[in-house]
């Protein structure tokens, strides 16, 4: 089994933040090597180094045995490294054939483009991965899963020896995921090395030969996984002596523990008060634009309703529908029993609905503006009657929330981009607490947040619930859903799949999300 | 916010400091020793700087200035924009020039500025295109509008055999002097050449390219057009180029007010039959002399004649100093002139 890629003692830091601390990672031909870790554990930085988008500060990279000095996207491609990013790096205005053509040819700028050949190759690649997409369709008109498949076709086309896949099944349906797994196994058979990044433990167990777990920029070990049906014994002798791959077969529970690094139970603050009367109730709510179909759930005062489901199950779309960004076109929304019509975020805020968005850097906090300005942005009408800014009042309100949520910043005038992920999330949270909402919708509240800030945010959420706020928490972080929610609603395909009690087991939630009928993942 | 308030304060201080400085130098004309003893400043405003017509006027003005030893400032916009004319005149007022000689693109617009200049004791004389009578002392008139209008119409009639259609190209329809000339052309046509017909009047904003495209359009819209008459020096070469490109040299005649140099090529090729104008260099020369005399008090309202250096005597009708009769440059005499 030839050694395709060898990283030893790779370190990388951005300013003061050490993203990677001497990582050693190897990839063999004909192997699926999974890379696991919470958000912010350094996975994407590692990938960016391998693909040449970033340069490592220290350590060495060997590709097919020889040391590689400076790696740029162009040279990485020449060395047969292909990467499928979660946000597909495609050209929206060009057709599928053109995109694949651009990614495949390393032509210099003056060579002729042979269109027939280009279309033929594109059609053949698309057929190979079983995607029924026309090569003449514009990328802009394709759905996210279809774009993902085009990315995979590009990687396939370049004849890459090393293929990196970053959460490829995030927005794929059941059928498409199965199809993708067949293609991956086919690639592995032909000797390609695949680095597979995913949160979904059951996918790793289904597919990967080995898994490396990253936590806070460090590698906490590489383990064999049963998925490849190949017993550890078949590994060639020198692999097992290399010490890095321990022969023990790892289980799901151990993996989660390694990833999180602590026992699950005591992380989350326990729920104290019993939930009060129904605050928010949805009756057959639908929004064709967002793909949300007859959602009927209730959230009680003082209760945290966890909203679980795979990415693409329509949870964020549901939140946007309730909040009025993509107004509902079916069903009703009741607030404390009174029917309400929400057609715009302004109306939602006026009615006491607050939404902490998923994409913090684009929708949550305006990075160039100061903390105080961000915190008061949703309550201009209340804080500044007659639209006259009162900077003193604004500062006081900001200071109050900085103290209340323990935001670590140099002062109320510090700009958003000078804060860490966790503090930015607190500012976003403060903005919506300032509106004194009846219902608070949280969308991936602890995504990309360091572990310390994560538990602080959990304490805050629990305290808000205790004060009688109805909380609807969307999260893909399984332990967080299990630890925080009083009740769990699982969504799939834009509608409710199951309502589970707070203390359900992880696999019960996961199987509901995946749509399998019970049984272990 | 403290810093921005500090900033605004500083701007105010600069403005005030600017003001008290002014108390030293009295505003308006320099009321120091009598103008005759010290060198006076003449400000010369053409309608647009690049226009060859005004370039040759300026040459004459410079010649006169060299003889008189005054200080001559020539400034103007590159395209005839009335707002810029006013700005330049108002700058001259605060500059404290002694006399302004201006060619007026737009009578009312510039008169507001010229009246302010006179209120500040600055003498004003106009040339080529007049302002409102109350806004200037004298107008150096190259030729009476009637003289120009009749000369143009007579030449047009001679070339067309006193019948047929003709079209007029003007600078801009709002240029007072050209409107007046057109009025006299029409008067002369109605009186002497009833079966000549003016089918269109197009403006070319003193742009040669536009004159060319307007003429091209006219040639195709009015197939049996016999003559193009331009009341702006930019019109004649533009129309000539259009006629040449349309292959109608000779069949469609082309005349107008124009400088010999600019039209020599077309006159020799027979595209343009003749251009009517006055000696623009003399116009500039006479204007500077008049301005100088006005500033020094040698030229007073009511005079009947005025001696302008080497050019000799000029007749004054009311407040118009008459340069003389318009002159026709054609194939046989155009080479003797160089302006």
């Amino acid at each position: 089994m030839k050694q395709l890629l060898q990283l030893s003692a790779v370190t990388k830091s951005f300013g003061a933040v050490r993203a990677l601390k001497d990582i050693s990672f190897d990839l063999r031909a004909g192997e699926v090597h999974a890379l696991l870790g919470e958000n912010g554990a350094g996975k994407s930085t590692l990938i960016k180094i391998i693909t040449g988008a970033h340069q490592p500060d220290g350590g060495t990279i060997e590709i097919a045995g020889e040391r590689v000095g400076k790696l740029s996207p162009a040279t990485a491609r020449k060395l047969g490294i292909a990467c499928i990013y979660q946000q597909p790096a495609l050209f929206p205005d060009l057709t599928v054939a053109e995109n694949i053509g651009l990614r495949l040819e390393r032509a210099n700028s003056l060579s002729r483009v042979n269109w027939k050949e280009c279309r033929r190759r594109a059609t053949e690649l698309l057929r190979r991965i079983g995607a029924d997409i026309s090569p003449d369709a514009e990328i802009r008109s394709l759905s996210m899963p279809e774009q993902q498949l085009v990315e995979i076709a590009c990687a396939l086309g370049t004849g890459a020896r090393i293929v990196i896949m970053d959460e490829p099944t995030a927005s794929l349906t059941q059928k498409e995921t199965a199809l993708l797994f067949a293609v991956i196994r086919d690639l592995r058979g032909s000797g390609v090395g695949i680095i597979y990044i995913s949160h979904r433990l059951e996918e790793i167990f289904q597919l990967a030969d080995r898994v490396t777990v990253l936590r806070d920029g460090e590698s906490v070990g590489t383990y064999f996984v049963g998925g490849s049906r190949r017993e550890p014994a078949q590994m060639s002798p020198e692999e097992s002596q290399s010490g890095r791959t321990s022969a023990a077969r790892i289980t799901e529970g151990d993996l989660i523990k390694l990833m999180v690094g602590r026992e699950i139970s005591q992380i989350f603050p326990p729920a104290e008060s019993a939930p009060g009367e129904i605050v928010l109730s949805l009756k057959k709510l639908g929004c064709t634009a967002g793909g949300v179909k007859n959602m009927s759930i209730e959230v009680r005062a003082g209760e945290i309703l966890g909203l679980a489901g795979l990415v693409g199950a329509g949870r964020t779309e549901l939140a946007r529908t309730i909040f009025g960004i993509t107004p509902a076109d079916a069903g009703e929304i009741f607030l404390r029993g009174e029917k309400v019509q929400i057609r715009s975020p302004q109306e939602a805020v006026a009615r006491g609905i607050a939404y902490v968005p998923e994409d913090r850097r684009r929708h949550g906090v305006i990075l160039e503006m100061s903390i105080a300005q961000n915190m008061t942005m949703a309550i201009h009408r209340q804080l500044f009657p007659g639209t006259w800014l009162r900077l003193g009042v604004e500062r006081a309100c900001a200071l109050d929330f900085i103290r209340q949520l323990d935001v670590r910043a140099s002062g109320t005038e510090a700009p958003g981009h000078s804060l860490s992920g966790g503090n930015q999330q607190k500012v976003s949270l403060a903005r919506w607490l300032a509106t004194k909402p009846k219902v608070l919708i949280l969308d991936e509240p602890t995504q990309g947040v360091d572990v310390g800030a994560k538990s602080e945010i959990h304490k805050i959420i629990r305290r808000l619930a205790k004060d009688g706020l109805a909380v609807l928490m969307i999260s893909s972080d399984l332990p967080e859903i299990l630890g925080m929610s009083d009740r769990i609603a699982v969504m799939r395909g834009g509608t409710i799949a199951a309502m589970l009690p707070g203390k359900s087991a992880a696999h019960e939630v996961m199987s509901a999300a995946l749509g399998q009928k019970g049984g272990a993942g | 916010m403290r810093k921005t308030l500090l900033l605004l304060l500083a701007v105010a201080v600069a403005a005030i400091s600017g003001c008290n400085q002014s108390s030293k130098a009295p505003s308006g004309g320099n009321v120091t020793p009598t103008p005759a003893a010290r060198q006076i400043t003449i400000a010369f405003l053409p309608k647009s700087k690049g226009n060859a017509y005004f370039v040759s006027c300026a040459k004459g003005a410079q010649k006169a200035d060299d003889e008189l030893g005054d200080r001559l400032i020539i400034d103007g916009p590159t395209d005839p924009d009335p707002a810029r004319h006013n700005e330049i005149v108002e700058n001259w007022i605060t500059l404290g020039v002694d006399v302004i000689a201006a060619s007026c693109e737009n009578k009312e617009g510039i008169s507001t500025a010229l009246r302010k200049a006179e209120a500040k004791g600055i003498k004003v004389v106009t040339y080529d295109a007049d302002a409102l009578p109350d806004a200037r002392s004298f107008f150096v008139n190259q030729a009476t509008p009637q003289g120009i209008g009749f000369a143009l119409m007579d030449e047009a009639a001679r070339l067309c055999g006193t019948n047929g259609e003709f079209a007029v190209i003007t600078g801009s329809l709002t240029a007072e002097n050209q409107t007046e000339w057109r009025k006299f052309v029409e008067e002369r046509r109605a009186a002497a050449y009833p079966d000549m017909k003016c089918v269109a009047v197009e403006a070319c904003d003193d742009l040669k390219d536009k004159a060319q495209s307007e003429t091209t359009a006219l040639l195709s819209t009015y197939p049996d057009l016999k003559l193009i008459l331009s009341t702006t020096s930019l019109g004649v070469p533009g129309a000539a180029e259009a006629i040449k490109q349309a292959g109608k040299t000779g069949t469609v005649k082309n005349i107008g007010l124009g400088l010999p140099n600019e039209n020599k090529r077309y006159v020799h090729d027979g595209v343009t039959q003749g251009v009517i104008l006055w000696k623009t260099a003399d116009l500039g020369y006479l204007t500077v002399y008049a301005a100088d005399a006005l500033a020094k008090g040698a030229l007073k309202p009511g005079d009947k004649t005025f001696k302008a250096g080497s050019l000799g005597e000029f007749e004054i009708q009311g407040d118009n100093i008459m340069l003389g009769k318009p002159f026709t440059f054609n194939q046989d005499n155009i080479d003797q002139f160089d302006f």
């Binding site: 300013g15 684009r362 990075l367 942005m377 700009p415 | 006013n86 007022i93």
Partner: protein, 335 residues
Amino acid sequence: MNTDQHGYKSILLRHETILFVVLAVEWIFFDAVGHNFGTYDNTCDILRHSCEIGLLALAMTPVILTGGIDLSVGSLLGLCAILFGKFWRDAGMPLPLAAACTIGVGALAGGLNASLIAWLRLPPLIVTLGTFSLFRGLAEAITHGVDTFTDFPASFLFLGQERWLGIPAQALVFIAAVIFFWLLVHRTTFGRSFRAIGFSPEGARYAGIPVGRRMAMVYVLAGIVSAIAAIIYTARLGQAKADAGTGYELFAITAVVLGGTSIFGGVGSVHGTLLGVAAIAVLHSGIAHALLPGEMAGMLTGVLLILALAGSTLPKMISGLRARKSTPRLAKQIP
């Protein structure tokens, strides 16, 4: 990530202080070189000549703050000047009524821009390029390229040419506009929402800011101010012509960008724009008083703008070199 404390305020302040120094240097240089440059009369003249472009620059500031642009203000000035003349001379309206109607038309024209840009979310550059040619065309069509409106009564011309309490009459209108726009941008929630929209339109929408209404507001305001500038232009010149205001929109944008406002939106200030207008006006007047040809002023304005732009990337360049980022983010074009 550089941890510079003040964010956009510090960059802006450094830019304005440099511009203020440039303005002071200009003033002192031309006062020494030019004749009677530093006099009170000339200061009034500078104010009078730069009043219209100053007004347009003031109205352009919130437009650019929201990340948009408005090429149609110059043509709208021409159209409003013509309509003002038409209302007064042909429709026989008394001047104040004619002025009010003209401002109404300005608001309507601004409303056209607003509806296309704010509701249909079309690119501002191209929409205002269309209305740029539409308004100029209407001005020429109404007057058949011929008609001009003149001999306005002296009481009206007073607004454009005389002084009241020692200050040029239109300067009072300009000062009132400065105060209005300064308070609007720096002291009200509207200004705060303009910046938020400029930095991140989606972020503003998620924060419950009525993005559509705020963007519509800035374009309607630009229309109204263009109409006011048209009336003052007509008063100053004593006549209204179809080609009034040609090229004024580019002068206004130059002044706003010179004043430190970023063309991408978010960063910018009204006093910065004021300094930009002053720097250009003083330059033009100074050159005239130094008896240099007028075109030098235009060229130096262009050079000044290039230096200001290059200068604005200096801090980014230095921090770029320090952090040895791979490639600076390619310029994000206007949406």
